[in-house]
Structures are given as structure tokens and as C-alpha cells.
């Protein structure tokens, strides 16, 4: 039964792809070299290049069990439920939390020479400054996308996140429905650290958001924002740089701005859980992802900034896929940009306040 179905699927792929398996398999015996022949990878949905997985399988003669999650918290719950994976791709603050809780094992750097390809911007990030536990996968910023025809660029550039409190644009603003990203804008607009625990600063940010809610009456959305901006439904939105790059490539009227007050620098990185069954192959996989070819395929398919410096250069160089797209390349070395830190208490507090903002 199983073979029959697989054969059928393969047949369909032959029609679609013009090849089944394609090319010669390598003659590595993975059992001998790595002690196992399947690799369990847990990554974000729609976060991998079209041929990345199958190329790795062919090259190393192994099978990848690929699963996807939609949020860091969801992935964390799955791990607590006893699921075993070999490679995960959580975000910065979740990696910090997992390191604190001893859930990760150090990378075997002797197996990952491609760490030398890392772009400068993803080196030395506070959650894991020496890449002891993690190897960056994608990274980016949070920036403002706006419609050049309806919004005065001078307003955005001079006001930064405060443009979201500009009554001129009432009813034309998308705000991302997440306490983390919303409070980040407020903290940054007020000149505080986005990881502040100071009660007065939190109160001030809360009032900033209340004021924003009153003045521009934003639509609170999640990922509809991408399609909403592509079709030009509203004029201003705060989005992740990778999504901004996509919006800009689809709609010429849109422009992108990174506020001078600083913003969120984020990174999703590959880690190996402490209970991984196949850590050797996992290290090999991480090295493969950091290679130029795999990184290029990933970044070209997904549109997020690659952690590989050669790919970043190639993509944004003249004639590259993101040539002239200001949102693709993250801002590097700007001291006011910060990485989100894990803080359970603060998160809960902000979540409660955020609900109040939306209901006001």
C-alpha cells in the first residue's frame, strides 16, 4: 500500500518536475559515518528553499523528516511534550530561554566550517555571542512600509514610529497585533530600551499606544498585513523586513524606512536540542544550510535576509534578485537596534496592557 502510493506520488512528480530522485545517489553509508540515517528537522512553515532538503538527502544519502511550526511557543510546547528533533530553528529570545533551561547542546564547530560565511550583522548577537549553541538561519529588522503616493516621506523619516500617532493618517494604518512588536515601537519611539523593566517606562509606552489607538484608529492584523500592503489597502504598516522586501517587490508604490530611534533586530537560528538522536548529522546539516548554494536557495525562495555574507552580497548586488530593494538588507552596527530578550514576567505584563490598548 505504502509503496504503491509513494510510487504514485513519484509518478506525479516525474510529470511535474521531469525527474524522480534525479541524478546519482552518493554512496556514503550514513549509518557508518553519522550513526543514523534520518534527520528530524523542525522549522517555521514556508521557510525553506525548493531544493534544499532533497539536495541534502541526495548528497548524504539520508532521509529528512521535516515538520513545521507557526510560533516559537508552539515549538517549545511540542518539545516539552517529548517530541525529539535533531535541528530546530527558533528565534533569538527562545534560544536564550532554551540555553537557560539546558535544552540545547553545543554545536560541534569542527564540523561547521561554513560558520566562517556568517554575515557580520548576525555575529555576536547577545543571546549567543560566540555561536556556541546556534547558527543563524535568517535575520532581519522591523521597519515601516508606507505608500509613497499617500504618505509624505518626510513625515515618516522625521517622525519614525511616531508617524503612527499622526492624525493625518487616521484610518490608513495597519498595526501588528502582538504585544511584543507593538511595545517595541512604543519603547523605541520614546527612546527607551525595548527590553526595559522600568515601571514608569512601561506606563509611558502604554500611554503612547493608547494615544496611537485614539489618533489613527489602526486595524489590528497579523499576517494579512502582507497582502493588505501588496494590494495597497492601507498606507502605513510596521512589518518584518523580509515581508517588507516582498511587499516592495510586488507593489512599486510602497517604500521602506528604518526608524532612526532604532528598532528590533531579530534572528532565527539553527540549534541542536540536548536530546537529539542524531547530533552528528545535525551538525552536518547546519553546515550544509550555511553553504552558499543552500543559503541562496533559501533566501531566494523565502525572501528573508540570508545569514551567509556571500549570498547577502549577491542578492543585493547590481543585477541580484533584491537589487534596489532597501528592505532586503538589514541595518548593521546601529547601536540603537536591539535584540529581543526573553523575560516571562515582562511578556505577561505587556500582554495584559496590550489587550487594554486594543479594547480602549
Amino acid at each position: 500500500m505504502k509503496n504503491w502510493v509513494k510510487l504514485g506520488l513519484c509518478g506525479l512528480m516525474v510529470v511535474a518536475l521531469g525527474g524522480c530522485g534525479g541524478g546519482g545517489k552518493s554512496d556514503i553509508d550514513p549509518q557508518e559515518v553519522y550513526g543514523c540515517s534520518t534527520l528530524n528537522v523542525y522549522n517555521w512553515g514556508e521557510y525553506v528553499g525548493e531544493n534544499v532538503l532533497s539536495n541534502f538527502e541526495r548528497q548524504y544519502n539520508v532521509k529528512i523528516n521535516y515538520s513545521m511550526f507557526a510560533s516559537n511557543e508552539e515549538m517549545y510546547t511540542k518539545l516539552l511534550g517529548g517530541s525529539q528533533y535533531d535541528v530546530l530553528v527558533p528565534s533569538d529570545y527562545m534560544i536564550e530561554r532554551m540555553i537557560d533551561e539546558n535544552m540545547l547542546q553545543p554545536l560541534d564547530k569542527s564540523m561547521i566550517p561554513n560558520l566562517a560565511n556568517l554575515a557580520d550583522g548576525v555575529k555576536g548577537l547577545s543571546y549567543d555571542p560566540d555561536n556556541t549553541y546556534s547558527a543563524p538561519y535568517f535575520w532581519g529588522m522591523v521597519g515601516i512600509v508606507y505608500n509613497k503616493n499617500n504618505v509624505d516621506p518626510a513625515d515618516v523619516e522625521s517622525q519614525g514610529f511616531d508617524v503612527l500617532r499622526n492624525e493625518k493618517y487616521k484610518g490608513h494604518v495597519f498595526v501588528y497585533d502582538s504585544e511584543r512588536d507593538s511595545f517595541m515601537m512604543a519603547f523605541k519611539a520614546l527612546g527607551y530600551s525595548m527590553n526595559t523593566e522600568n515601571e514608569d517606562e512601561i506606563q509611558a509606552a502604554y500611554e503612547w499606544l493608547l494615544d496611537m489607538d485614539k489618533k489613527v484608529d489602526p486595524s489590528y492584523v497579523t499576517d494579512e498585513v502582507i497582502d493588505g500592503m501588496v494590494t495597497g489597502e492601507k498606507d502605513i504598516a510596521v512589518v518584518y523586513s523580509g515581508d517588507a522586501a516582498y511587499i516592495l517587490s510586488e507593489n512599486e508604490d510602497m517604500a521602506y524606512w528604518l526608524p532612526e530611534e532604532g528598532t528590533n533586530l531579530w534572528s532565527d537560528a539553527m540549534v541542536i536540542p540536548a536530546n537529539a538522536k542524531c547530533p552528528k548529522l545535525a551538525n552536518e546539516f547546519i553546515n550544509y544550510i550555511l553553504s552558499d548554494d543552500a543559503s541562496y536557495d533559501n533566501s531566494s525562495t523565502v525572501g528573508y535576509a540570508s545569514s551567509n555574507k556571500n549570498v547577502l552580497e549577491e542578492m543585493s548586488a547590481v543585477g541580484g534578485e533584491y537589487d534596489g530593494n532597501p528592505a532586503y538588507l538589514p541595518r548593521v552596527g546601529y547601536p540603537k537596534d536591539e535584540v529581543f530578550k526573553h523575560n516571562e514576567v515582562l511578556k505577561k505584563k505587556l500582554a495584559d496592557l496590550w489587550i487594554k490598548v486594543k479594547n480602549s
Partner: protein, 267 residues
């Protein structure tokens, strides 16, 4: 006045139908979209179908969805039928109690069942994966099968199997030649419900599956960051398949009946 009333009722019906079918129509139209946009139709193309067949994670999730749904339907229908027949012969108090317990998983929010199953598997140290997913699906399908078979058993004349036994049938023959044909409509509808429940289940599957085993629902959910229009293509194919099956289910018995009548006339 009467005319107005009928006009209104027609309009109302139209509204209901539009509410049902517009979303499906929308998905079908956008599966042929030329661009990645989910709200702007830019031109006709088959690229999302092509990409769907080339995408191994989608194909794998279809494979697991179908295999799990088929096995879960077969097993839960057999188990549910046997359980229902057995219950119909047991003492009243046992029967009532079991039926109440049987109803519990259906009334219970799915998330409770899901977390419960996950904790059970973890505490027993069973690795989640294909087997746990299948067991969970069988478990939540059985109550529906039993629920749809019980009324048929109640309607059946209890003297029928006894008469069969009196006339020399073995118990096995009485079961397969008398009881099962009598309750067949219940079994079929139970199996259909089980299949649909298993096919589109997300909550329970999400918590009981393991590395690398995803069904269509889990796959679609994980795409929340960026919807891949291939999913429109996939939905369209499923809609077409279901329409064909529905037409067959409704037309074949009609044709059989007509044939039967013709034969009768001839005879």
C-alpha cells in the same frame, strides 16, 4: 403579497447558498492566479498546481492524511460496529452507562482530548509519530461510528437474528447475513463521518503527531506566516474529488433503482 413572500424566500435561499459556496468559489478562482497575491487576480496560470505537485512537504502531508483517514475509518468502523452490536445485547444499565461514556469524547472540547492523549503517550514513554497519530484518530472516530449505528440496531426487529438461528444459520451467518445488512446504512454513514472527521482534524493530530508526520491541516496551519497559494490548488482538487464522490453516491443508487424497475417491468 404572496409573490413578494416567494421572492423574499428565494432571495434568502440565494443568500444562504452564496454564503456556503462563495468561499469555495474564491479558493478555486485564486488557485489559477498568476501571482502570489491572495486578494488580487492578475491572470490565469497553472503554476500553483505545478508547485503543489513539486512540493514534497505538501505531497507527504496528503499521503499521511489519506493513509491515516483510510486506516482509521476501516478500524473504527469495524470496532464501532462490533461494540454497538455487543452493547445492544447487554443489560440495560451497562448499555446506558456505556453510551453515556461513549458520548463524552464527542461533547468534550477537542483540545482536552488532544492534550490528554499527548500526556498519556508521553507518560507511557511512547514516541509520538505515525502510530500515535493513527491510534488517536481511531480513538476519536469510534464514538461517532457507534452513535450512528445504535439507532439502526434499535429499529431492527430483534426476532430477525433469532429466526435466522432457528432456521439453521450459524451465529456467524446470522451476524453477517442478517444483522449487518439490516444496519448497513448506519455503518456507511458512520464510516463517512469517521472519514471526514479524520481527514480534516487539526487539534488532536497536532498534539499526537511526531517528527516528520504532518497531515494537511497541520501543514496549512504552519504556513500562517506566509500563505502559499499552492494550498488553493490543493483545496480545489479536494473539492473536485468530494463533488465527484457525492455525485456517484447519489446517482449510482438511482440508476440501480431504475434498472431494477426496468427488470421488473420486463419480468
Amino acid at each position: 403579497m404572496k409573490k413578494l413572500k416567494s421572492l423574499f424566500s428565494r432571495f434568502y435561499l440565494l443568500l444562504v447558498l452564496a454564503f456556503f459556496y462563495l468561499p469555495i468559489l474564491y479558493v478555486i478562482v485564486f488557485s489559477f492566479n498568476d501571482s502570489k497575491s491572495l486578494s488580487k487576480f492578475t491572470g490565469f496560470s497553472l503554476q500553483w498546481y505545478e508547485k503543489m505537485f513539486a512540493n514534497r512537504t505538501i505531497m507527504e502531508s496528503i499521503y499521511y492524511t489519506v493513509v491515516i483517514a483510510v486506516i482509521a475509518t476501516v478500524v473504527s468502523t469495524i470496532v464501532g460496529t462490533i461494540a454497538a452490536i455487543g452493547l445492544s445485547k447487554s443489560r440495560r444499565i451497562v448499555k446506558e452507562l456505556t453510551l453515556q461514556i461513549n458520548n463524552l469524547p464527542m461533547m468534550n472540547p477537542e483540545i482536552v482530548t488532544a492534550i490528554g492523549l499527548m500526556l498519556l503517550f508521553t507518560s507511557l514513554n511512547i514516541k509520538t509519530g505515525f502510530m500515535t497519530l493513527l491510534l488517536a484518530h481511531i480513538a476519536f472516530c469510534i464514538p461517532y461510528v457507534m452513535l450512528s449505528i445504535m439507532p439502526k440496531l434499535r429499529q431492527m426487529d430483534p426476532n430477525l437474528p433469532e429466526a435466522a438461528l432457528d432456521l439453521g444459520a450459524t451465529p456467524w451467518q446470522a451476524l453477517t447475513k442478517v444483522i449487518v445488512p439490516e444496519i448497513m446504512p448506519g455503518i456507511v454513514s458512520g464510516a463517512l463521518i469517521a472519514f471526514t472527521m479524520s481527514f480534516d482534524d487539526f487539534v488532536i493530530s497536532f498534539f499526537t503527531t511526531g517528527p516528520g508526520i504532518n497531515n494537511i491541516s497541520i501543514y496549512v496551519y504552519s504556513m500562517y506566516k506566509r500563505i502559499n497559494p499552492s494550498i488553493n490548488a490543493l483545496s480545489t482538487i479536494i473539492v473536485v474529488m468530494i463533488t465527484v464522490v457525492l455525485i456517484l453516491v447519489n446517482v449510482v443508487p438511482l440508476m440501480k433503482e431504475r434498472k431494477l424497475k426496468k427488470n421488473e417491468k420486463l419480468g
